[in-house]
Symmetry: C2
């Protein structure tokens, strides 16, 4: 029986993780859950999984919950309390499915407390890959990928030596606008952007998928998770999202992981590794499957991927700044303030203007994150810059 | 430094295996080579690799070789001497790339002598899977697959528990006549049959690939190599031969091995396992690759696959009989004696008429093989039966 904390239990990954846990009551006990502001769903989860501790970041939502909930679970509020959920004494694994830079501090707290991490918060490794992986190594904790691409690579690497790896091939659906030119992309609306062809995901990651910024963040995540040079990470567009990613080995053999686009498979694998547990997740049927196609990414229409490679290669605080600028720009796009193409422009301007600090501390990263958010906000307020 | 015997060094697999060995002079010493009758190529190989022992099965070819060759390699002749090459004291691995039932006896001799087997002779496991795998287990020797499909499965299973496997998915190119109806197949000539779309192989296996008998033999081979029930082995047509086979696990994840159709990759993997060695074999380029397509096998036009599943499920001497009938029928087709469609008819009639012996000894298998060859020959001589 493993004790589990889920940071971000009301989001897309969090709810699916609870489905996995519910299917294996003999394997897990939920010790703590956290959410941002969805107090109604959170209350249902607390009633069902009876955690010792529950943290609702939003104080008003926490007040609403406290006015209704009478059970034994201890309820805390505020972002600073996320670390309490992440470091609870009996917890073995922390699933980090908070979206964005906000996941960094509780993830670092969990690592310092010696908890294994099922990592669904890619921004943690994007912003602070050097710091997080070095602390994880020092503390001897595992960083288990939950992202479908990184889980695929992790599965492909089982039983193989790292020295046998030639390169990692990250597949990308290309999002809803694969094949579009820049003039066509000027017509993109929030609504069309949120219709992802294959995956049902949160809004942030769906927009990131459409700009290819998501793949850029995943490249940086892969660099840190698997200790790979950027020269050994390749991105290939694969619109069907059936091959979730691949590894090419030094002998020319390629190992790939395939499956229906269902996040429960990688979520469960992060929790079951090195075992696999029987599950009735939908199966691929190769006798009826559509052709699997592949193409090189279009870096003219979708420059965010190349920007991420550049920021990753530079290193230091720059990937953190790229991530922060992207978060601000995506929010502005979702709010109707800026256009789809302006998302990448905001990232580009912010990254260009940043003074990089190398081997950053957590404080350096928080400062860089703050700076980037202010800078990106300023650009967004000034239409001449877009 | 490992000492290697290659049984069948002048064939397609044998020559490519020597290419692999030549690329890794620090890893291998060739101790023995054997061939059937190609004394000229065999002499070149002996000069280059300087084995301790060389066996040329055909006596006239051996006489020709002896009349020219003056070097230190000991030259023997006759099928009975293959076992001498397979059991040489210092040999660590025997690569069995003899085609057909003729590979069985020397393979068994190698197993009894405690040699690891790199198995490119699928007929050994088809005809005598029960006997060979039980002797290999008793002797503690490894059976390392060389067939591209079985190597793919073997690679996909690295780092995984057998209990996690849901099923094996063997891919089949479908051969040059994929999509053809029975009336169309009546027009097939030997020449059109030998033009395989993806692989350059020996004639026997190329014809087997066109009838799907090859995939049937591979199903039986997979059953024994991986200890899988027939219900857990699926065949999928994949005309591009890029995905070499797959494994579906109990959690729904599928792991696949991909690569250019180049037999040197699986040959080298059988020799390097569990390592992978750097090689300049051609790489897949996903940015320019054609769509990968899949379909269920057509068991009406290509009944040999279903016949193999039936023979495998019955077991005993029946797979041996299926294999022998196929060998005779393919030879008759290549000689212009029978039509393409008659190959499967010969197999079907022979299998139907066989009295199965269960848990057969080597003698039982040799008798069944002899009987099946005579019976198949009789059918071929009597056009009314075809």
């Amino acid at each position: 029986m493993q004790h589990l904390t889920i940071l971000g239990s009301t989001g897309s990954i969090g709810t699916q993780a609870l489905d996995v846990v519910a299917a294996h009551p003999d394997k897990f006990k939920i010790s703590a859950l956290t959410a941002n502001s969805n107090d109604q769903l959170f209350e249902t989860q607390i009633e069902r999984f009876k955690p010792e501790l529950a943290v609702l970041v939003d104080k008003q939502a926490a007040d609403r919950l406290r006015s209704r909930y009478q059970g034994p679970t201890k309820i805390l509020t505020g972002a600073d309390e996320l670390a309490a959920a992440a470091t609870l004494a009996k917890v073995d694994i922390v699933l980090t499915s908070i979206v964005g830079f906000a996941g960094l501090k509780p993830t670092l707290a969990a690592i310092e407390a010696g908890k294994n991490i099922a990592l669904a918060n890619k921004e943690t490794l994007v912003a602070a890959g050097e710091l997080v992986t070095s602390r994880a190594k020092a503390k001897g904790v595992a960083l288990l990928p939950v992202d479908s691409e990184h889980s695929a690579i992790f599965q492909c690497l089982q039983g193989e030596k790292r020295s046998s790896v030639q390169k990692i091939i990250l597949t990308a659906s290309g999002g809803p606008f694969h094949g579009w030119t820049k003039p066509q992309l000027q017509q993109v609306t929030v609504e069309s952007c949120l219709r992802h062809p294959n995956w049902t995901m949160g809004k942030k990651v769906t927009v990131d998928s459409a700009t290819l910024a998501n793949k850029g963040l995943e490249v940086i995540e892969a660099k840190w998770l698997f200790g790979m040079d950027y020269d050994k990470i390749e991105v290939v567009i694969h619109p069907q999202s059936i091959i979730h990613s691949m590894v090419e080995f030094v002998d020319g053999a390629v190992i790939a992981q395939l499956g229906k686009p269902d996040m429960r498979i990688p979520i469960q694998y992060a929790l079951s590794h090195p075992e696999r547990w029987p599950a009735d997740f939908p199966r691929l049927d190769f006798s009826s499957i559509a052709p699997l196609t592949f193409a090189a990414p279009d870096t003219v229409s979708f420059p965010a991927l190349a920007l991420a490679f550049q920021a990753g290669r530079t290193g230091g605080t720059l990937p953190c700044v790229l991530n922060a600028a992207n978060e601000i720009a995506v929010n502005a796009f979702l709010a109707g303030t800026i256009s789809f193409l302006a998302i990448t422009t905001v990232i580009e301007r912010t990254v260009e203007s940043h003074q990089v600090i190398f081997q950053p501390s957590l404080t350096d990263l928080c400062n860089a994150d703050d700076w980037a958010r202010s800078f990106a906000d300023q650009i967004i307020q000034d239409p001449k810059q877009l």
